[in-house]
């Protein structure tokens, strides 16, 4: 039986006494993996070598930043992990007013937040996950808004994404636009609506 392709010997044949070095491609899954290589020579019993590669420590990473248009809409944030479960939470001030989705995609599998991922794909290799925020409202302020998403793996390691919504446009309205004062100059009210400071001239 051939050894797995992730295991690479320094040579596949030799003569007499020799040393064979083994290397392996990067293993991103949590669980160790193993394969067997058979050394054979004419007239002798074959010998089997078992090669074991350790798993990668459980981890999670996420896009460090994400941008939302000033008009709102949606934003998808992606990351990678080999954890068996991911937990998403909005941390900080949530200036954008995001609503945390109840589901996300892990290795293309729709998964409930804070729930074990079906099939535990992270055991054998890392997977990509994504979470999409929808229904984001328009930024009606003239300053950028910021929210923070934190994703935590099953072993409590975590990563954060700073989500920034672009500053909205300034606006100014007055109502009414024409007023009539009596000769005595009796006061009349005018309503000014704006999202920033204004001047009169």
């Amino acid at each position: 039986m051939a050894y797995a392709s992730w295991a690479q010997p320094s040579k596949t044949q030799g003569n007499g006494n020799d040393t064979v070095a083994w290397s392996a491609s990067d293993h991103t899954g949590r669980s160790p993996r193993q394969t067997q290589a058979v050394f054979a020579a004419s007239g002798v019993t074959s010998k089997t070598l078992t090669i074991v590669q350790a798993g990668k420590a459980e981890y999670v990473s996420i896009d460090p930043t994400a941008a939302v248009a000033k008009g709102g809409g949606s934003v998808t944030i992606t990351g990678r992990s080999n954890s068996s479960k991911l937990t998403f939470a909005l941390t900080g001030d949530n200036g954008i007013g995001l609503v945390l989705p109840t589901k996300y995609l892990a290795a293309s599998i729709e998964t409930n937040n804070d729930t074990a991922i079906t099939g535990d794909p992270g055991a054998s290799q890392e997977y990509t996950f994504s979470i999409t925020f929808t229904g984001i409202g328009e930024n009606t302020t003239i300053g950028a808004l910021v929210s923070q998403l934190t994703v935590t793996a099953n072993n409590s390691t975590s990563a954060t994404c700073d989500i920034t919504q672009a500053a909205g446009d300034a606006y100014l309205t007055i109502e009414p636009t024409t007023i009539n004062l009596t000769a005595a100059g009796t006061a009349v009210n005018v309503t000014v609506e704006s999202n920033t400071s204004w001047t009169i001239s």
Partner: protein, 90 residues
């Protein structure tokens, strides 16, 4: 706070705009010195905001009526002319 805006019509009289703060949503109360003239006067007042390189302006037109004129017709005096109209300040 109050902003005084002269009518600049030679009377020395002014408009007054009173408001809580010059930012966000506000009610601006507009009043004026009493108009000592007889003709309606008009003043345009500009409200503006600047955000980055963009400036937005809105114009408030303020009109103030002139003081009333009372027309008195007198025909109880001896005169060679009847129905003489004279204007008096009310």
């Amino acid at each position: 706070m109050t902003t005084q805006v002269p009518w600049n019509d030679g009377t020395g009289e002014s408009l007054y705009l009173t408001y809580g703060a010059s930012e966000g949503n506000q009610t601006v109360t507009v009043s004026s010195d009493a108009h000592t003239g007889y003709v309606e006067r008009t003043k345009n007042i500009n409200f503006s905001v600047t955000a980055g390189s963009t400036t937005i302006s809105r114009t408030l037109t303020v009109k103030q009526a002139g003081k009333d004129i009372t027309i008195i017709t007198r025909n109880d005096v001896a005169s060679t002319e009847n129905e003489v109209a004279v204007g008096y300040e009310q």
